[in-house]
Every structure is written in structure tokens, then in C-alpha cells.
């Protein structure tokens, strides 16, 4: 499986012909929207689509991802992980569409939002449209703050609160980053996510 790390653009259409991991990072600073469509048109393809990011003060992002299973035997994992700092706002629509011909599909969407600021806004719509019965499709979405227990664990070992929170934020992305197969891409993503 190859790993592709690209910049987010307003409209992205991906039609891979080999197994691919796609990684995008939502950059902080200014508000914008992006619509990513991943079309699985080749039988037996297995792909991953990960969108990661941390946004801060008054930044508002609208992200849409669609995993479109058009033929048989494809699988896909979609990840959307975002950290919301002070007054940030995220609007996410994550679609899994499985067409009639797409039997033996396996598709999973995982959406996690970590709230670290106050007065944040988070709207999520994980959508499933399934037209074939011989499939496995599921999604999960969670939103919450860092637990006090986790923060205390780190501060009680000498870290400042802000250091503790940054460590937790890194950890939030780590189990997606660690699964990036290409080592160069993995290190680049790790560095960009930290900054």
C-alpha cells in the first residue's frame, strides 16, 4: 500500500488504481472548506483516507469526505480527527456510499473530536447509504474533552499543564500516524501535526 500526503484543496477527487493511504492535514489559521471524494472503482481495492488537524481561535472549517464503493470487494477506512482549541468550529460530513454492485464491501468511518478550548462548535454528520446487503459498514463518532484524570497523570509527573495538553494532543493523532506505511511520509506527517 502506498502513502500519499497532500495539501487540502476545496475539491478533491481520488480514483486510485492501487491500494493507497491518503493523508490530509487541516491547517490552522484561516477558515475554509474541502470536499474529498474517494471513488473505489477497481475490484479488490483497499484504501485509507485520513484527515487530521488542530484548529484554533475563530477558525471554522467545513470538511466533507465520501467513500464511494462502486464495485465489488473494496474496503476503506476513513478517519477524521480534529482538535478544537478556543472558539474553533468544525462542520464534518462523512459519507459511506455502497452502490448496488458493490458486494463484499467493508467500510468503516471513525470520527473523533477532541475539545480543548471553550466556546467551540462541532457539527458532525456520519452518513451511510447502503444499497447492497452483502457488506459490512459501520461508523463511530465521539466528541469530548480531555479527561481530568489524564491531565493530572502528566502534571503530577512534573509537566506543566500546557505541556501535558500538547502531549495528549500528539497522542490523539499518533495511532493514525503510526499506521502510515511509508516511513518518510510518516515522519513528515508527524512533524506537521506537531507544529
Amino acid at each position: 500500500m502506498k502513502s500519499v500526503y497532500s495539501e487540502l484543496k476545496p475539491n478533491i477527487t481520488l480514483t486510485p488504481d492501487e491500494n493507497t493511504q491518503y493523508i490530509f492535514i487541516v491547517k490552522d489559521g484561516s477558515s475554509y472548506s474541502a470536499d474529498i471524494e474517494l471513488n473505489l472503482k477497481k475490484e479488490g481495492l483497499s484504501c485509507e483516507l485520513s484527515v487530521l488537524g488542530r484548529i484554533g481561535k475563530n477558525v471554522s472549517v467545513t470538511i466533507k469526505t465520501t467513500a464511494n464503493h462502486l464495485v465489488a470487494g473494496t474496503s476503506c477506512v476513513t478517519n477524521y480527527r480534529i482538535i478544537l482549541d478556543e472558539q474553533a468550529s468544525s462542520d464534518y460530513t462523512g459519507k459511506i456510499i455502497i452502490r448496488k454492485k458493490a458486494s463484499q464491501t467493508n467500510s468503516y468511518l471513525d470520527n473523533k473530536t477532541l475539545v480543548m478550548g471553550e466556546k467551540t462548535k462541532n457539527t458532525t454528520r456520519p452518513i451511510l447509504e447502503i444499497e447492497n446487503d452483502d457488506v459490512k459498514a459501520s461508523h463511530g463518532s465521539t466528541t469530548g474533552r480531555v479527561g481530568e484524570a489524564e491531565t493530572f497523570y502528566l502534571t503530577s509527573r512534573g509537566l506543566a499543564r500546557s505541556e501535558a495538553e500538547n502531549l495528549i494532543a500528539e497522542g490523539f493523532f499518533e495511532n493514525i500516524v503510526a499506521k502510515i506505511l511509508d516511513p518518510d511520509v510518516r515522519e513528515k506527517v508527524r512533524a506537521d501535526v506537531k507544529s
Binding site: G117, K121, T123, T124, R125, L128, D133, G140, T143
Partner: protein, 469 residues
Amino acid sequence: MNKKNIKDIRDTYDTKYGFNMPEKSFLKAEKGLTEKIIEQISKSKNEPDWMIKFRLKAFEVFNSKKMPDWGADLSKIDFQDIYYYVKPTDTEKRTWEEVPEEIKNTFDRLGVPQAEREFLAGVKAQYDSEVAYSSLKNELEEEGVIFLSTDEALKKYPDLFREYFGKVVPAGDNKFSALNSAVWSGGSFVYIPKGVTVKRPLQAYFRINAQNMGQFERTLIIADEGSFAHYVEGCTAPVYSSNSLHAAVVEVIVKPGARFRYTTIQNWSDNVYNLVTKRARVEKDAIMEWVDGNLGSKVTMKYPSCYLVGENARGEVLSVAYASKGQHQDAGAKMIHAAPNTSSNIISKSVSLKGGRTSYRGLVDITPLAPKSKSRVECDALILDSDSATDTFPLMKINESGANVEHEATVSKVGEEKLFYLMSRGLSESEAMGLIVSGFIEPIVRELPMEYAVELNRLIELEMEGSVG
């Protein structure tokens, strides 16, 4: 999988429930919807002035609103091709013996007298838009529990009625609540006094009988502080070639510390459009539970909701949807968190087969007024064959940074290995399917009163068997 083993429940409908009583109605309005018909409805019920005005205003709102551009296909509804009111008898009946024979036969077939004898607290049965029979057990009356038709309650308890009517679901909420507000007839009014626990479930039955009949019952329930009650409704209707419309409104007010459970098993025949607005206002420390079973109808659009307006309020929806050939069940739940420490839980299970379609549509809205709130949604779907489909459209709006929200959904078919496991132990394929489907919906079925659970499990069995039950 052998498709012959999947027996559509609708095939047994004619013999089991599909019967047509010859109509014997005293007042039958003309078809269609006009101001004149609305005034006619109100006058025949001797309603106070404010209600006539309320109805006419709602009619204006109905005309101004567009049909929803989302959800199931409602394009075949012709609002002018429906009777909006038929009154079967002049007065409500007190005892079973006084009920006209045709109506008695209808409820005989539904098992009402048996259930009433055995252990129900009180039964109100509706036939063609009016409550024809009511009976309150002595113990309910002694405790001050009010369980009447909505029409009766408007006359007997006008102040209480007016205080709450239309406050949880205003006419302008959506096109179908506006329609209901204009032409409502029948339904139940329930008041549970402070601190009272009603041990037996309160029940109601509904039927559409006249061709092109619309059912617009309006239910208003007030559970006063610290009370508990369980209200159960189950409906059936005969099979018709032209479409029937059911646009009910249910308003529930759960006052501080009270708990109320509202259970529905809907089994309308497959030509009925079932478009219902059900909403509860849940106050401080109160709990509201909706148990919603959608088995019948051509189209159902129903999203029982809880407005959690008091601290520590809790809302729950347990929903099961079954869609067979030609059916579309578009159901779900809405939870609005508008106070601190509120919590909500939604469990939805749906089964689609023979080309049926189930859609879960839900909303969890954590407003800035709801710090430390929690919500959990679980929706699972089973698709039993390649002709069927399912969708999930959940929406979570989290505008409070201390909230905890979880949502998960799965879609799958019945695994071959599960079927093999059961069949290798001597069950036929249809028995194995029946067991698996029953197990899939069990978390909801176990919350139903026993007769409903038994009936539901038997319906699933019939569905899976090759023979007529």
C-alpha cells in the same frame, strides 16, 4: 439464501387483520380540506371559540408551508382526496355492552375485551376518528388520574387543557403538525397527578376504516411532579387500494422528578402514510422514554424527540423499524439538550427485506445551555437480501465544549456462519433467520409490555415461515 423461505407478513394481513366493516357513520364530512370543513368539525364537537380560531390559524399555516424536500417520497398524497372526519357514534361508551356491534367486532378481532378483562387499567378505542369506548378503572379515578379522549378533556378540563395544548408542538412546527392542528380529532388526554405511580399500562387503539380516511389524533399527556406511568398504543388498519394518511401529534410534558414511558407498535397496512410528530418536554430531574416500533405503513416519517429543558433531565428512544416490499421506514429520534447535566440515549434497530428501505434520521443538539451533558446513539441495520437498502443520517451539533457525545452505527446482513451454526443444530433456515432477527431486535422488544412482545415475536416468525400463520 432461499428467498421462498422469507414470507412477507403482508401476505397474511388479509386473513389476520385485513377486514372491512360496512360503514355506519353518523356524520361524514365531504372529501377535501377547506375552512368550511374545519368549522364543521369544530361545531359538531361543540368546541370553544379559541379552538375554532386555533384550527383556522393552523390551516393557514398548513397552506403556507411546503412539503419537505427530504425523507421518503410523499408525492402521491392528495390532500383533497381524503375524508377528514367521521364520527361513529353520538356519545362515548362507558361499558363494553353498550358499544355498537360493528365496532365491538372490530375490537374483538384486536383482542381489546380480553386484554381489558385481564389486566389493563383503562382502554380507549378509536374508530374512524372518534373515541368510541372508554373505561376507567376505579383505582385510577380514585388516584385522580385523568385518562379521556382529547375531545372530552377539552370540555371537562378546559383550563388544564388550554395551559398545555399546542405548547410542545406548535402548529407551525412542520406542515403535518399544522394539518393536525387544523383537523385533529380523537386521541388521548392523560394527566398523572403529583407523586402517583400508575402500575398498569394505559392503552389506546386506533383504526382507519373508511376508504381514504385520514387519522389525525391528537394526544396530550401531562405527568405531574414525581409521577410515573406507561402509555401504550398499537394500531392496525385494513388493506385498501387508495392511500390513507395518518398525521398524528403527541405532546408530552414530564414535570420535575417524573418519569413517563410512551410505547407505540405501529402496524398500519402498507398503503398508509404515517407522518407523526411526537415530542416531549422534559423538566428538571425528569425522565422520558419513547419506545417506538414501526412495522407497517407504506411510508413512515417519525422522529420522537425530547427537549431536555431542566437540569439532570434524561431522554431515551428505543426504536425498531421493519421494512418489507414497497415500504420505506424513515424513523429516528431527536434530542435537544438545553440544560446542564442532561443525558440522552438512542438505540435504533432496523431490518429491511424484499426491496424495503429503512432510514435512520437523528439529531443530537447540545446547545451552549447544556454543560456536562452526555449523549449516546447506537443504530444498527440488518439487510436481509440484495433488493433492500438502508441509510443512516445522524446529525450531531455540539456547541458546548464540555459535552460528551458518542455515536456508532453498523450495517450488515445475517452472517452465513450464524445461519450455519443454528441449522447444524436442527433448525430450518427460516427458523434460524427468525431467531437471529428476533435476537437482533431483542434490546427493544424486552422493553415492551408482554402482549406486544409476544405479538411482535410472532410477527417475525410468521414473516420468516413458509406457511400462513
